[in-house]
Amino acid sequence: MTMAASILGGMAAQRARILPPAPDPSADVIDLSSEFPSGSTSPALRESAIDAVEQHLCDHYTRRPGIAPLCRAVAASMSAAGVPLDETLVTICGGVAEARYVAVRALAAGQRVYLPLPAPAVYQAGLEFAGANVTTFDAGGDLPDAQGGLLIVSNPNPVTGQVVAPATLERLAAWADAADLAIIADESVGPVRPEAPFVRFASLPGMAERTLTIGSFAEVPGLGAWHVSWIAGAKRVFTPVRDLKQSITICTAAASQYAALAAASEVDEGEIAAEVAERQEAILSLLDRHKVPYLAPDTVAFVVVQVAESSRLAAACHAAGVIIGDGALLGNPGTVRIAVPSGSLADALEALDAALHDVKGR
C-alpha cells in the first residue's frame, strides 16, 4: 500500500531510507522466515519465569549487564568451550538483532570491515550506520591485505546454516593476528548438529583477547520470542559494545532474563538438537521428494534450499500461507531459508509442498 507522505515521513533521515521495510506477517500465515526454531518452552522453564514474575523480580531495571546468575552462566559456558571469561565481561542483550547491531555499530565505526562470503544482510544497518568500509572475500581463497580493522565471522552462517571448517577458522585466526584485526564471532545460530565441527573462534590461540562473541538463547525452541541473547569477550572489544547496548536499551527485559536463566540451567542442548532435528528431517524429506537441492545443514534450526528463482518460490510459499526467507534479501542469492516449524509442521509441509509443485510445474 502506498501512503501519501506526511511531513514527518518526508523528513526521515537518509539512513532510514536505505533499509527494507520490516516484515509484518499477518496472523493467518505461518512465519518460517526466522533463523531460529519455533516451538514451545518447557513447563519447567515457564514455571521458573512465572516464579520470578510473581515474586516481583521483573518489575524493576535489572543490573545493566544483566542478572548476575545469567551472566555467570554465560561465562561458565564460554569457559567450558575453551574461552575463560569472568562474568564482568558478559552483557545480556535483547534479541540477537540487538546484539549484532550494537556489536557492529560500536566496533565498525570508521573501520575497514572484512566479511567472508556469503555475507549475511543482518549486519547491514550496523555497517551502514557506522560508516564502515566493507570488503567481502572468500574465506577459502586469498585473504585480503589488511592492517587493522574488523573481521566478522558468522559461525554457523545465518544464511547457509553451515559451520566454518576448523581449518578455515585457524587460517582466519592467523590472518587476524598478523593483521591486528578485532573480531566479532557471531555464534548465535543454533542448535548445532552434534556431528558438526563447531569451534568457538575465541578459543583459537591468541583470539580470546581480540574477539567479541555473540550468542543467543533463541536456539531453545519457543525462547526466540523472549528475545534474549548475549555478548562476551575481551575488555578491549567488549566495553564499547556493552556501553552502546546500555545507552540504547539500558538493560534487557527482566522476565526474559529469568526465562533464559532457566534455559541455561535446565535445558539439555543435546536433547533440543535431537528434537528439532526430527522436524528438520521432515522438511528435508519433502525436498528430496521434489528433487530440490539444499545445503547440508550443520544447524537444525533451518534448511537452506538452492533455487535459482528464490523470489518466485518465496512468493509461491506466501500464496500458500507460509513466509520463508528469500536469500536475495538475506545475503545469499539463489537460496531460500526455511525455519523448522513446530506445532504448525504439518500445515507448513502441506503449504511448502503446494508451493514447490507450483514453482516446479511452471
Binding site: 533521515a13 509484518d24 506477517p25 514474575v53 520470542a225
Partner: protein, 397 residues
Amino acid sequence: MSKHHAPGQIVTPDELRAVAADGTKLRYALMELAGQIPDAITLGRGDPDLNTPEHVIAAARAAILDGRADLPVPVAGLPALREAVAENLRRDNGIPVQRDDILITDGGQEALYLLMQTLLDPGDEILVPDPRYTSYDEAIHQAGARMVLVPTYPEDNFDLRAAEVEAAITPKTKAILIISPSNPTSAVVSRANLTAIAEIARRHNLIVISDEIYEKYVYAPAEQISVAGLPGMFERTVTLGGFSKTYAMTGWRVGYVAAPADFIAALTAVKAATTGPLSAVSQYAALAAATGPQDVVAEYREIYRRRIELMKHGLADLGFSFGEPQGAFFVYTNAASSGIPAFELSYLLLREGHVLIFPGTAFGEKWVDWLRISVLQPEDQLALALERMAGVLARHR
C-alpha cells in the same frame, strides 16, 4: 576510603571526576558506589519503588502459561497493544492516532535512539532544553547530529520559553525536543508556551519530539498537554511514551512512539534492522496495563505528590531553593547555600550520609549548584534521608 575495590569499581572523588563530564556515566558511577553501601537511601535513579500492579503480573503469568509468550510478535509490536495505546492516546491526550501510527519499543530509551537515527541526518541540529536527561546526548551523537541547548530558568519553574526556542533556531535546525514533565526539573510546559512553540514549529517547518514519559504524573494546577493533540501538529510531531514510569514497570522495558504511519513504517524498518522486536511476554504485560483498571495510576500519583511535598519542606528547612515541581517525581534543588559545589556535595552525602542524590552536573555542565532528588522511596526513608543530609551539612557548612 578503601583502596581494595574490584577492578572497574569507582570509589574515589578523582575516579568519579574522571567520568563526570558524561552525565550518564556519572549517574551510573554514583549508583555503583551506592551499591557498595548497605544502608544507602537511593534518591537517584528514576526507578519507581512501587510494584508493578497485580493485574499486570497476572496477565504476564497467563501469557507464559498458555504459550502466547513463546510466539513471535511483529517488529512494530503486538497489534492489540498498538491498538490499546492508540485508543488511550486518543481518549486521554486528544492525539488523532490509529494502530498503524504506533510503534512498541524496548522502553522509552530505545524509542529515543530509534527516533534520532530515523529522523536526524549528520549535521542536523536539534533543540534540547537545558538541563536535560543526558541519555539524549548519545542518541543524537550516534546520528551525527548536533544538540543545541535551550536555557530554562528556575524563576518560572523551568518552563520552556517559546522565545528562547525561537532564538536558538538556525537554518540547520530540524527538530525541537520537548520533555514535559521534565527530567530533571519536573517542570510542565505551560499551555501558552506550548501553543507558541507549536506555532514556531509550523512557521519554521520543524519537527517536534514530545517526550511524555512522565505524562500521568502531573500535579494540579499544572496540566498535561500533548503537542500532537494541538491543531495541525500531529503530522509534524513524534510523541514518546511508555509503561515504565506510569505503571512501575521499568523491568519490563516497554515504551512506544506515536507518529504518522509512514514515519512509523520508517522507524519500524530501523528497529527491525537494529534492535528487533520486544519480547512477547513484556508486551502482554503492557497490554494488561493499558487496558486494565487505571485507579492504580491515581493512587501512585497521590503517593508521589505527598512525597514531593515532604521533600520540598525538608529542603526548605535546609535552606535550599527549588523550582516548583509540577510533575514527575523529582525535586531539582539549588544547594548553593551549602557553600559546597553540587558534585562534591553529592559525594559527601553518599559517603558520609549514605544518601544517593545526583548532582545537577549530571544533567548539564552549568548546573554546578543543583541537585536532582528523586522521591522514589517511602516517606519514612525520605524523612531519614533529610535527617542525614542535615547532619552532613552541619559538619561541612
